[in-house]
């Protein structure tokens, strides 16, 4: 498949680079967990209950004035397509377990995804590019209001929205901000910051990979508690923490530049070299180089490469997307080859666009 055709079909709303502080904040996500009265939670319900929940919620949404919703049942979707939805962060791995009656409803631009019968009956999720907590919340909130008027929510005067996991009870809201923090990582300050943020009731974690490292120096900051604070306050607390992290990251970038400009330029350009010419590109190396190239772009060191490269390629370098790009099943080594191909093509298409622009 040609890279342009592939990207056209694959780039989703939040991968573009705009919104506030989009040089550091890659995306903002709001998730609301909701359940219907009269049905047991997915952990305990029957196939029949699952079917009823699914049909009630999807009927309510698909008959709304909002056009362009697409409904997908997990058990009817090919494995590769389920994998791609996970890699785009539109559904959770848990939802795609075909034994569990999961389904998803996506808005046309994919900023909104509503998971049905995941851990809860309904999970409304909005992902926006850049730092847009209020906008993402308002969107999720409006969908929530619409559904609330159509369906009997499980709600309790004391405990708020009732959820399957007690860690979501109350607002049912998880707000998170995905941040690219290379300078805080290089200077190892992040190791001190993470425990400090944990004490403020927030959680920081690497967002893509397993284990303690954050591939691509991408971290996710989110609220830990959902009970006892109104939504607006949770959002503003998270916003304050994120703003402080942004300021800290910017200072560290300036410090790195002023103290060791040549060493930094060397590191960043070497990474650009690797993703421009490598023939085998393992995912760890790819993530590290992408982070470097993105930092180079942000600092004005690397020109003529679009800043959305990090958002896009972090997603497209994953196994599901690579196999869709290759239109074939791939072994791990073949994936490294195709990953290298994909990166080279992506950078070449960028070059061509730039040259065309210059000619015109």
């Amino acid at each position: 498949m040609s890279i342009n055709k592939f990207m056209k079909g694959a780039v989703t709303g939040w991968m573009t680079s705009h919104g506030e502080h989009s040089d550091i904040v890659m995306s903002t996500r709001i998730r609301l967990a909701r359940n219907l009265r009269g049905f047991r939670f997915p952990i305990a319900f029957t196939a029949d209950e699952a079917e009823k929940v699914d049909s009630q919620v999807s009927a309510a949404l698909l008959t709304s004035d909002e056009k362009g919703y697409a409904y997908m049942k997990m058990s009817e979707l090919p494995g590769l397509e389920r994998q791609v939805l996970i890699e785009k962060h539109l559904v959770s791995p848990q939802l795609t377990d075909v034994k569990r009656h999961g389904a998803v409803i996506l808005s046309e631009d994919e900023t909104l995804s509503i998971m049905l019968n995941e851990e809860d009956h309904i999970r409304i999720q909005c992902i926006y590019p850049g730092f847009q907590l209020e906008n993402a919340y308002d969107h999720a909130d409006s969908v929530d209001n619409y559904l609330e008027n159509k369906l009997p929510y499980a709600f309790d005067e004391d405990f708020g929205y009732l959820t399957s996991c007690p860690s979501n009870t109350g607002t049912g809201m998880r707000a998170s901000v995905m941040m690219h923090l290379p300078a805080l990582t290089i200077t190892k300050q992040i190791e001190r910051i993470i425990p400090a943020i944990a004490r403020l009731g927030m959680i920081v974690r690497g967002s893509y990979g397993e284990g303690s490292e954050a591939p691509g120096n991408i971290y996710q900051v989110s609220n830990q508690t959902t009970l006892g604070k109104p939504e607006k306050e949770i959002l503003s607390d998270l916003k304050n923490v994120a703003l402080r992290l942004i300021a800290h990251e910017r200072r560290s970038r300036e410090l790195l530049l002023s103290k060791s400009r040549v060493a930094l330029e060397n590191k960043l350009f070497r990474s650009l070299g690797i993703i421009s010419y490598a023939r085998l590109l393992p995912s760890g190396e790819a993530a590290r180089c992408l982070s470097d190239v993105r930092l180079g772009i942000d600092l004005g060191i690397i020109e003529d490469v679009d800043m959305s490269i990090l958002n896009e390629l972090m997603i497209f370098m994953q196994p599901g997307f690579l196999q869709q790009y290759a239109e074939a099943d791939l072994t791990a080594e073949e994936r490294d080859i195709f990953r290298a191909d994909l990166f080279r093509e992506r950078l070449r298409s960028e070059q061509q666009t730039n040259e065309n622009n210059k000619e015109n």
Partner: protein, 187 residues
């Protein structure tokens, strides 16, 4: 050796981190190790492992015992009429089975929530618009329904029919104010 993180306390825990460039060892004190665990997450688990957290619930120090003896002798606690979850099982799996569980375990929950949510036990955020009105209407429908049963038992069928009409009218209003479900079936 001193802890890599705080550089104050002696290191007693060794972490091996698999990094991009191979693995690296970190020596931490117990305190720092506990704090960094937030970061050592397994993506398939909750940010804070609820199961682990709650499994130490019932008997305080007893739960440190490696095997089930003490747990087996523990009381099951209240049992949910809708999904049959016992309070003890709830603590084991860390999940509620249905909305009714919240009613069943109402007495025990403030302690659970207080631990999970930084001391908070009650919701203070968004309330569904239709909740208050709907709640009152539902109460009314239930009341009428029990009166209707009474009338049927007394063979006052005309009264029962009138009550049924009244309940149906309320049910329609319930639907108008946003209850799409059939939870208030009065027939």
């Amino acid at each position: 050796m001193l802890c890599d993180n705080c550089k104050e306390r002696p290191a007693s825990v060794i972490f091996t981190q698999e990094g991009m460039g191979g693995s690296a060892e970190r020596h931490l004190c117990e305190k720092c190790a506990f704090q960094t665990q937030v970061f050592h997450f397994d993506p398939s688990q909750e940010p804070l492992s609820i199961q682990q957290f709650l499994s130490h619930w019932f008997s305080g120090s007893e739960s440190i015992q490696p095997f089930q003896q003490s747990r087996d002798s523990m009381p099951d606690g209240p049992i949910c009429p809708d999904c049959k979850l016992t309070f003890r099982k709830f603590l084991d799996i860390g999940k509620f089975g249905c909305p009714t569980c919240y009613d069943t375990f109402r007495g025990q929950l403030p302690r659970v929530f207080s631990k999970l949510h930084n001391g908070h036990t009650t919701h203070v955020g968004k309330i569904p618009d239709s909740f208050n009105e709907r709640f009152a209407l539902k109460k009314k429908v239930e009341e009428i329904r029990s009166k209707m049963q009474e009338a049927i038992e007394m063979e006052r069928f005309e009264d029962a029919a009138a009550l049924r009409d009244e309940a149906n009218a309320l049910k329609e209003r319930l639907a108008e104010c946003g209850n799409g479900g059939d939870g208030s079936d009065v027939n």
